[in-house]
């Protein structure tokens, strides 16, 4: 408002409006801000007021407006409503300020680090800890692609012993996860 008071409102010829018109328009500015809160750009507000001033002046060529304040408000509201329909205003309406943006980000679901993820990790860690160190290492080596023979040689055990430990470890995991054990027979053969 101070901004408009300072620079003044100008018509299309760059001339100031009649002080009576300008005074009414500046008085309407708080109401415009209140009823159209998304119109925050000072230049945009000034353009609305200047367009309203031009229409009022054009209307007054036919004679003085009896209720200037009311007429001016209807004019300002009409112009502001039209501006709201423009693409740039629509973008502005859909743009959040920083506080609202942060609030929205905090409320946005994430696929990582959610409570469900943490809960799953705790359960899986507990499950992993039910395996002996040897069982865990054999499972990992198997996933790394080492053969039972290579693992047996390294651990100074028989291949059968390694296969048995691996098979039992997988059974434990499947049982804990509630996985059907239909492939267990196959798993034993493949180990």
């Amino acid at each position: 408002m101070e901004h408009l008071r300072t620079i003044g409102l100008l018509d299309s010829d760059g001339q100031p409006f009649h002080p009576r018109i300008e005074r009414v328009l500046i008085q309407l500015l708080p109401r415009l801000r209140r009823e159209f809160p998304s119109l925050q750009d000072e230049v945009g507000l000034a353009e609305i007021m200047e367009e309203a001033g031009r229409r009022i002046r054009h209307r007054e060529r036919r004679g003085p407006i009896e209720r200037l304040h009311g007429y001016a408000w209807v004019t300002v509201r009409s112009i502001a409503t039209s501006r709201m329909r423009l693409g740039s205003s629509k973008l502005h309406q859909k743009t959040l300020d920083s506080d609202a943006g942060n609030a929205r980000l905090l409320a946005t679901p994430t696929s990582r680090g959610t409570a469900a993820d943490v809960e799953q990790a705790v359960l899986l860690r507990e499950l992993l800890q039910t395996l002996s160190r040897e069982e865990r290492m054999i499972c990992l080596w198997k996933k790394a692609g080492f053969s039972s023979q290579e693992i047996a040689l390294n651990q100074r055990r028989t291949v059968v012993a390694i296969d048995t430990i691996f098979s039992r470890a997988k059974q434990k995991i499947r049982k804990a996860l509630g996985v059907e054990d239909a492939t267990d027979g196959q798993a034993r053969h493949s180990c």
């Binding site: 992993l128 499972c139 039972s148 995991i173 798993a187 180990c191």
Partner: protein
């Protein structure tokens, strides 16, 4: 031949072991994580079974997932 079957049967598909190791030990700050070179050499089985890197894979799900990807497996999502 039997050796190949043995390797394929154990590590080709994402299974319950993958599910556990890929999610049991989240380490989002990547504390003590292995370098990519080490992960590559582990994935290629260029290190002995007793290499300390394998121990880390049991304790860090992030490294385990990278390790599995480097082996040429699909990323483990669930």
């Amino acid at each position: 031949m039997a050796e190949n079957r043995d390797r394929k049967g154990a590590n080709d598909d994402a299974d319950e072991i993958d599910r556990v190791l890929a999610h049991a030990n989240p380490n989002p700050r990547r504390v003590g994580c292995l370098s990519r070179d080490v992960l590559v050499s582990l994935a290629a089985r260029q290190q002995p079974l007793n290499a300390p890197g394998y121990e880390h894979l049991l304790e860090c799900s992030e490294c385990y997932r990278e390790f599995r990807v480097l082996q040429g497996d699909e990323p483990i999502d669930s």
